[in-house]
Symmetry: C2
Subunit: 258 residues, 2 copies
DNA sequence: AGATATTTGTTCGTATGTATT
DNA sequence: TAATACATACGAACAAATATC
């Protein structure tokens, strides 16, 4: 009686704006539109789909939220196909793991496989500019932090170093997945708590790993780079999982609902 | 001259609905809302954000497009927080690689690392029901195809087998990434052409691999499973890349624009 | 079974802002 | 500077869906 509230309709028939979004995507595929190309004017879309201005706008808004469309005002303005940028893609992806946060070990299981391979492919491929960029990131934590704020920034900068490496990877799938895993880590609520804990040794050991890594990358020694990164990942995982366990015993359970 | 002090508005100041979407997400985080929980009514949101109904609805529409919100009409209805399902997440992610299609080799570089590990973790963990599901998938291509349609279906079923394995993986991050790579392959335009080509040996060899794989999984022999999957991946990559090269020479360039 | 209240869904018309020409 | 073409936002009204009495 009190529990038949379950929606009987498995597929709540897609709303109109959602359907129009789909049709617009089809349009892009069929006409082979490329980033920068213009979509029909809003008025034309209204006519074509026999929908009101607001409905069309809602459909366009959804595509904008997905990063597939950008709009400009003024004459010659309109809605334009756009390549989704990586940040947007990661943000959307992050939503999926929002309500089912993975374990630290789950993430590191992948990082241990992928990041060593990533740096191996990078060996001997980096330009002077790339090295400068990496060094600039490292410099943010080549010294002891002066206060808690700087400490936290250093922890994030450490992840940034990995992010730059991922960005430089010519295999964009590999680079993207690595970046995604780092992003996942960044946003994991348990990690936010872990990152708040001071940890001097970790900074120093991380710094050491990365200096060594840059050195062998410069030499073009892929195998050495692979090994350094793997060891680094193992050390990081061990530390993070220890923190995870510790936090788990500290707060037996924190629920935001009474 | 060409470098005026004003940063040329890198970010075309986010539109209002987009900002409201962000704020709604923050609301979900702050209040610790879970899937199934209700958002404020549209009227309340209009008051709270001092925005018109259309604007609020556009913001909600964006969240719906991201699979984060579902809505129901009627009394007791409203907009509800929802967990993004995997399919939706993959679809959104696929948009990112839509305009920068990776090479076959890029994808297989990851599959060769991840899928062997995936089946290794599955060894000895599968239930009778799991095996039945996997066997049912295999059965779709345990015989020679009668016609082109069945041939194509068999090629997709082969990917489905891998998808089921990914789904069964307790490490959801690993499972998701593997599923994503398969999805990427499915949607790659070059793959669609490759899959159209008849290839009797590939079906047979794939079938053989998978029967053997199920056998060692049943024995709980993770190492054997890892090796079988790795060999399978290498063989598949070799075949796909050969096709890729062949197609590249066939059509020097096909552009959809005159 | 039917009327009604509640809440989202769709549309129209209009006013405003902004960039190009 | 002014005109123009376009997106952006608002408000009011009406339609559809659905739970409750």
């Amino acid at each position: 009686m009190n529990d038949p509230t379950v929606p009987p309709a498995k597929t709540p028939p897609a709303r109109r704006p959602a359907r129009i979004s789909e049709q617009l995507k089809d349009l892009i595929v069929e006409q082979g539109l490329q980033p920068g190309d213009r979509l029909p004017r809003e008025q034309e879309l209204m006519d074509q789909f026999k929908a009101s201005k607001n409905t069309v706008r809602e459909a366009l808004g959804a595509l904008q939220a997905q990063g597939l469309v950008r709009s400009r005002t003024g004459p010659g303005g309109g809605n334009f196909v756009s390549a989704q940028d990586e940040d947007r893609a990661m943000e959307l992806l992050g939503n999926y793991f929002f309500f089912q946060q993975p374990r630290i070990g789950d993430i590191y299981a992948l990082r241990k496989m992928l990041e060593p391979e990533l740096v191996a492919t990078l060996a001997g491929q980096l330009t002077e500019a790339d090295f400068q960029r990496l060094n600039a990131t490292i410099r943010l934590y080549d010294h002891k932090p002066q206060n808690k704020v700087e400490e936290y920034r250093q922890r994030l900068a450490e992840l940034d170093f990995h992010a730059v490496l991922a960005e430089l990877c010519p295999n964009r799938v590999l680079g993207f997945v690595c970046g995604f895993l780092q992003n996942l880590l960044r946003n994991l609520s348990i990690c936010k708590r872990i990152y708040d804990k001071p940890n001097p040794e970790l900074r120093e050991s991380g710094f050491h790993y990365q200096v060594k890594l840059l050195s062998v990358l410069n030499d073009g020694d892929g195998e050495a780079a692979r090994k350094i990164m793997f060891d680094h990942m193992c050390a990081a995982q061990e530390y993070m999982e220890a923190c995870e366990a510790e936090l788990a015993t500290d707060f037996l359970r924190i629920s935001s609902r009474g």
